[in-house]
Structures are given as C-alpha cells and as structure tokens.
Symmetry: C2
Subunit: 314 residues, 2 copies
Amino acid sequence: MRDRIYFNEVVTRDGFQMESRFVPTDQKVALINELSRCGFAQIEVTSFTSAKAIPMLADAAEVMDRITRVPGVAYTVLIPNLKGAERAMQARPPDEFNLVMSVSETHNLANLRMSRERSFSALQEVIERFGASVPMNVSLSTSFGCPMEGAVPYQEVLRWSQRFVDLGVRGLTICDTTGMAHPDQVDQLCRLLQERLPEVRLTLHFHNPRGMGLANVLAATKAGITHFDGSLGGLGGCPYAPGASGNISSEDAIHMLNAMGYDTGIDLVALLRVARGLPLLVGHEVSGQVVKSGQISDLHPVSQSVRDLLATAG
Amino acid sequence: MRDRIYFNEVVTRDGFQMESRFVPTDQKVALINELSRCGFAQIEVTSFTSAKAIPMLADAAEVMDRITRVPGVAYTVLIPNLKGAERAMQARPPDEFNLVMSVSETHNLANLRMSRERSFSALQEVIERFGASVPMNVSLSTSFGCPMEGAVPYQEVLRWSQRFVDLGVRGLTICDTTGMAHPDQVDQLCRLLQERLPEVRLTLHFHNPRGMGLANVLAATKAGITHFDGSLGGLGGCPYAPGASGNISSEDAIHMLNAMGYDTGIDLVALLRVARGLPLLVGHEVSGQVVKSGQISDLHPVSQSVRDLLATAG
C-alpha cells in the first residue's frame, strides 16, 4: 500500500452553490450523513455567505445543527467575512473555517466585489478573532490562472500564501478555479509551495472543464501532495464554461488513486451508491464517469456464445 | 519547445463504427479532408471489414478513392483479414495497414469470433502477402485489461508484440480498449515495451470511460511515448459503458500537450472548428471538453462593473 491520500468532499458547498434548484435541507443533511460514512477525511458542509448572495446555502446554520458528525471526519464551512464567522460560531461550530480569496485581482473583484487587499483585511479579522478557537484554512482561487487576466505567476501564489502563513494559517487550498492548470504547472507549483512552506498542509482543488482534472491530480500526487478537494459527481463548475465539466468528480479521482494502490480511506462502493442518487437530487445529469462505466475491477459476464467458442477454441 | 508528439486521428474509423446513424460518404470525405489540413501525422480513414459487420463503413473503398491526400499525412485503414487487405489494395492503397487482435482470449472471441491463434494466423497471411508493399501496424486490443477476464499480464502483451515483431512488423498500437488502464500501469508497460522492443514505433490508444484518459496520456508521455491515437470529440467507445465517454478526445489531449509545451504539429484552432461541427454530423452531443470551455489561453472579457471596481481599487 502506498501513501495515504486525504479527500475533502465539497459537493454540498462548492457543488450546490452553482445549482439553480434549491435542495431541501432534509436532503442536504441526509446526503452529508451518507458521505460521512464513506470515509472522507473532511467534508465542506456549507457556506456562511449571505443568503441573498447564495440562496441555495441559506440553511447553513440548520444544516450544521442537524448533521450527525462521525468521529474522524472534519466538518468545515466556508467563511466569507467576520459576520459569516460569527453566524457559524452561533451554530454548532465547525472543525475548521475555510476562508477564500483570489490570487488574481480581477477575479477577486468579479467574484467578491472587492480588491484583494480588502479581502485580505476581512479574512485577517476572522483569523485574529477566531484563530485561537478554530483551525483556519485559506483557499486561494485562480492560483493556476485567471479567466480574465490569464497567467498567474507562481510568485503571486507564494506571496499571498506567505501573508496568510504569517498570520498563523497552517492550511492552504490551492485552487484551479476555472480549470486552467496543466500537469507540468501543477508539478512545479506544488513543489515550490512545499519547499517554501513546509509547515503548511497543502490541499489541491481541481476542476475538469478541459478534461485535465485527473491528469492534474496525478501530477500533484507525484509531486508529493496528499490532500485533495473533490465534488461528488463532478458537481459545481464555472460560469465561464457552460456545458463543460465542473469540479473533479470525487469518485472518479478516488477510483484512479485506489487503482494505483493509494490508500484513500474511502469505501468506493458506498460512495458510488451515494453518487448514483445525485442526478435525482439536483435534477440533471452529472459528469462523473465511474458511476456509468463501473470500476476497473467490475467484470462483465461472458456470453453463452463466447463460452461455446471458448470451449471449442481450447 | 519540447518533444514532437504525433497524433493519429481515428474518428472516422473507431469513432464512426460505433454510431447507429450512417454518415453519408460525402460528409466522411469532407471531414477527412478538413482533418488532413489540421496537421495530423496520420489519419485512420476507414476499415475494410465486411459491410455486413459494420454497415457504417461499407463505403471504405469509395472514401479512400475520394479523399484528397495531403503530403506528410499518412492515411491508414483497418484490415481484419486477407480479404479486407485485397479490397483495400484494389482501392487507392493506404500508406499503412492497421491489423487488429486482442491480447485477451475472451475479448478476441467476443469481438472477432475466433481464437487469438486463428486471428494471428489470419493477420500473418496479410503480413506475408502485403508486408513488402505496405507498412504494417498491429493494434493489440485489451492490452491494459479485459472487461471479462480482468487483468492482462504485461508478459502477454509482450509475447504477442514479439510474435508480430518476429514477422517484421515495426508499428504496434497498445490499446486500452475499454478504459481499464491506470497511469502507473501505463508507465510500467510503456517502459517495458520500449526497453524490450526498441526497434518498434509504439502508439498508445486510450479511452476515457473512467475519466483517466488524459492522465494516461500524461503518464505515457512522461514514459517517453511520442505517438497517440485520438478521436475527434471523444467519439467511439465501448458497449460495456453506456453513457460514459469513449475514446480520448483528440482535441482535449492535444490541448493539454500544447499547454505543456509539446509540439503536436496541430493547428488547434482549426481542429476545434472541425470538432464543433461533429455533433451535427453524428446527431448527438459528444464528450470533448475544450470545444465547450475554450482553450486555457482564451481569456474572457472584463465586465464594465469590474472595470469600475478596478479603477477605484487601484
């Protein structure tokens, strides 16, 4: 058995936030409870964003209050600012806060309607207020490229990473928000960040709109990364690529790594069972492949005519 | 600029043979002529199989007679047996024959209705008769696993490869016929075959029903492989995985390798233009992603509201 790989399931946050149809709270709670029993290291449950901005996740506090927490699974929530952090702490507190901003100025303005400096200050407030009581992770969006600015220099990713590390943050998620990363870039940035920030737990967050999602997971794994975000069925995605795949599918990524002999800690049969229910839950097809094709190890029966041929061919 | 990578476009053979609706000969010829101008090293035009077995390719001779051959592009055809070879040579002869059999006995029986030994003998006849006048390539199906038998030992792939090399064959295509390969397996088998058969041009043929297609291309490239099959739009596929992706999409694979700095010789803008016409030609959506999401380098406009924010944020 090779290295242990840790998965953070983000479908109910990053996946659902793009959906147009509200998933009822009961069904969210049931889905998270099912995912909790599949062996994920972490689940990003919801987001304490304003209900106006993301109506789909307006029930964040209720979901956090109602889910059954499985020991060994870390339950995290996305926190946009101090107000969101306070709301999260008034509900059943999560095991971790996930704070988010973009490395690209233009993307931060487009997505969060403020400059990176203002985002940083807002997140700094959260860290200073709650850093002693809740572990902090920061997700750096567009770390591999911005759909409006284009290339994002590695040094910019390193600079913003360092600023958060200087505030005491020990978890960083390096996000390929719109699926612009290619495997050599992943290899280079992962090696650079690990070398410069050895004290940090690095998680890689990939999307698949150009088909490179699992190639990037492979490249990151080979570069020594052991923590990944994934979204059930590949749900989620990006408004810039309508019709294309969204996040990498957790079950497809886990299937690949299992096949390669990594220990993901996941009960893949149980996870595929959960994944099969997802299209009904969201009301449309999803992009995950293994649900359709089966695992490599799922063999097909030999037809009678072939058995007859086998008998005579011998 | 890194290594040169060579692509063989198989959509009009491996892609079309799975389609239920006949693509008219005029449209096949027009598509191949368009693909010829995109920079492919090779195009697998059609198959001289019996028209009864694959009605879609019943017009093989007419297609070969009518396409405009571009210098520098090798035009190859699939040849199942001596009769097919004779038919192919009566039309405008191709630049190469592609012969095919499975490494798995059960798959060969299911797919070709004969034992591997009988397939080998039939192909040997073709090689002995035409080997002096036409270069021969052999595609070894199920080299990475059989959907009925399961694992296929590397030694079996090597053994059948060696038998064809002993007949003078200098081109082998190692096929992951039903998408069972994982990247480490690809790395290992590619290194083994290159080491044992240094005189052979190895082409890798991947499918994507479990999302690993481009990860396997990456692994093969890193292992030193420079020749790949690809199918426009990811057309083709496998009856064992309904709804899942088929072959790897040529344009998605080429997009990834271009992004990584490899020289594929392909005009990707022209190829994407051709790919955009494919759903209309076959009457359904296809799985290629880059057509939907655009290339990494295709930037999106900055909205006026973000421009206003940018101005004040400065």
